[in-house]
Symmetry: C2
Subunit: 293 residues, 2 copies
């Protein structure tokens, strides 16, 4: 059973309404008068980080990738639970964790610490409080919306290649990604649809179009990339944790962002890239680590 089959089978179980059909970045639950946003992401050695990486960076990234899911919902972090497999350089791990929690002002709530052999596994659950309801989803894009992205894509890819090849270069974007929490909060009241780009712009735009049952047309020449000679790589590699969102046509984004396309009636494919239909998601994104599937 691969990931797609596994998740499809999970959809047959008893799902919470707030699970959003297991098709969003995070779960959303109403508790009294509050709306909570919950997410859980794992990182596996050799899959989601290179064995030679600084464990302080691994801990930072574990926090940041989860907070990025809260950012995509416009949520303010309340706290985190850590699932930690003990191993080498745990002091560095705790330093990186400390830096991330301090940077984002997020306290530790608890978790679990286990021993293990083989590749290390970490899990993190982030709990946030919605700053705006309804909480933006992937599924809210509307015909005529403009499609935007924050930041510049491809920096994480270059950082990864620098680490892998042990060359000179800036690895920050890969090793210490930033969760766009402030941007997410500013966008939540305005965006029809929003998600973070964890698996690559094209794959994530494809998913947004599928969830919204519309088509998204992207003009690749408009996409801000770190290396125009590798534009396609920058649009598919992922790990940038920027925000992809749609706004009603004419609404000016309240945060720095670039318009890269528009939302159209559902056409022949969920995604159109420079007018060409992209029919299936294979090869559109996520190939972070050398042995990842």
């Amino acid at each position: 059973m691969n990931e797609t089959e596994f998740i499809a089978t999970l959809r047959g179980l008893m799902l919470h309404d707030g699970a959003r059909g297991l098709a969003d970045d995070a779960a959303v639950i109403e508790i009294g008068a509050e709306t909570l946003v919950l997410t859980h992401d794992m990182m596996i050695e050799g899959r989601h980080y290179l064995p030679q990486q600084d464990m302080a960076d691994v801990a930072w990234k574990l926090v940041a990738v989860n907070l990025s899911d809260l950012a995509a919902k416009g949520a303010e972090p309340v706290g985190i639970l850590l699932g930690h497999m003990l191993g080498e350089n745990d002091s560095a791990f705790i330093e990186g964790l400390d830096e991330a929690l301090s940077h984002y002002g997020v306290p530790l709530l608890g978790g679990d610490t286990v021993a293990g052999d083989g590749p290390r596994a970490f899990g993190l659950t982030a709990i946030g409080r919605a700053s705006h309801t309804p909480v933006p989803s992937r599924a809210g894009a509307e015909i005529g919306d403009a499609v935007f992205v924050t930041g510049t894509l491809g920096a994480a890819m270059l950082g990864y290649e620098t680490l892998r090849d042990e060359t000179d270069g800036d690895t920050t974007a890969y090793a210490r990604p930033m969760a766009r929490l402030a941007e997410g909060r500013d966008l939540a009241p305005l965006a029809h649809s929003m998600m973070d780009i964890s698996d690559g712009l094209l794959l994530d735009a494809f998913r947004m179009a599928e969830a919204s049952e519309l088509s998204i047309a992207i003009d690749s020449g408009e996409v801000p990339v770190v290396d125009p000679d590798r534009r396609h790589d920058c649009m598919t590699w992922g790990d940038d944790y920027e925000l992809l969102f749609t706004l009603p046509d004419g609404t000016f984004p309240p945060v720095p962002a670039t318009r890269i396309g528009s939302v159209e009636p559902r056409g022949f494919a969920p995604l159109f890239l420079d007018g060409e239909p992209v029919i299936n998601a294979d090869g559109l994104g996520y190939r972070h680590a050398p042995d990842s599937e």
Copy 2:
């Protein structure tokens, strides 16, 4: 860095008040007028389950051990987030997950699915709603309280040995433990102190005494065990997920439970077993799997 050192270092980070100093079964956070209880436990192949075990049982146990932490706080489950590493027999895993969620009436909220090599790792976050505040802690025992335990201890140990040795016998207590949710809810308004026995009665009683800054005296002859000839094993092996709690002297427990001791002023040691002081926790509990530390 071992588990104790790691957790001690984590206590130096920014902790949420609801983290209870990382010394309780679960975190407790106030959200509006509600009180939420959150817990996260991992299970690692070869550490927390035997590689030959039915993956349906592994999934069940992953749910049950987390719900047991909610039970110890008297909380009603709201939902769970699953961190799943793909591997063999995932169809069986989903069947067991389905059975556990249906049995406890707990919906799936979301989570993460990853690929990995080597021993499999799973994580589960359970979110509950407190049925009574203040939420019972480990730290609330008072001098003069009576100490109680639900159920009969040692059944999980026998189940584990049956599985390990491939002999005939009932493995249910080890393979499909039950979370004492109803008992926890009934006890929450009355118990001064409460926790689940995941790591063995003596170790967990030691921890309750430490957290409450008192001594707990246990009369081993009163402890209900499945095999009186292996009384000490039954009191230290763990994995029984019964509830250990203290009530003011004279309060009759509203659920089936056995009085096994009493709470005393802090004496020479946190724990007294048949009048003998137990000064440190080494060897008191948790040796679930053959290669565990």
